[in-house]
Subunit: 103 residues, 2 copies
DNA sequence: ATTATATTTGACACTTATTGCCAAGATAAA
DNA sequence: TTTATCTTGGCAATAAGTGTCAAATATAAT
């Protein structure tokens, strides 16, 4: 069964839908074509600034793309961790707790 | 209101409860006293190996300490992010989804 | 107050990750 | 087969992480 799309897959799909070339989008991001290629294939991670620009260029919902990007970053941190799932839940708890008490 | 304890706070508390010196624990970890001091005060992050050794030295529940440590690491990734909470939830969703479909 | 011990701080060095450029190789379209 | 696009891997520059050491500060005991 197909798992949820990676950020790279989303970016590539949308770029192709728009008929844009790596070269063109890379130029708008002011980076080398090779890097964008690697980002789309998940070999490298984009920076947050690049994600924001990409959302604009590809007319994707910025918030959704950032959430996608951040969640991937989080999962990367715990990808080899047996206790990853517990850690995620603990992180949510702490986040709730802290919000409750400093706002 | 007091927020939940940091890993560093837990480590310091337990070390002091046991009457151990920074110097002693640092020696067991095979690092300089200065680093352990910084870890306890949250100025530096411990490695996972160090956390495991610390759990042993301080007789803390290893799993609990690792979860604490990882969740702090996760929160660090999104500490300045407005969408952090949404990203966390999205990460949990993906984790569930992936577990369901590769196991 | 002096001394001794413990902790903190900051400068430095070393290593590892990250980020990017470039050129050569592979793929695909014409 | 030519041409355009994309991918790959090597290299350089920079940033981040990890540790040492010595000096400064704090704590405790005489």
């Amino acid at each position: 069964m197909k798992e949820s799309k990676t950020t790279g897959e989303i970016l590539r799909e949308e770029r192709e839908k728009k008929g844009l070339l790596l070269r063109q989008v890379a130029a708008m991001l002011d980076i080398d074509t090779a890097i964008l290629s690697k980002i789309e294939r998940g070999e490298r991670k984009a920076s947050k600034e690049q994600i924001i620009k990409l959302a604009e260029i590809l007319e994707l919902d910025e918030e959704a793309l950032i959430v996608q990007y951040l969640s991937e970053k989080i999962l990367y941190e715990i990808k080899d961790e047996e206790l990853g799932s517990k850690a995620l839940k603990a992180a949510e708890q702490k986040m709730k707790y802290n919000n409750k008490n400093n706002s």
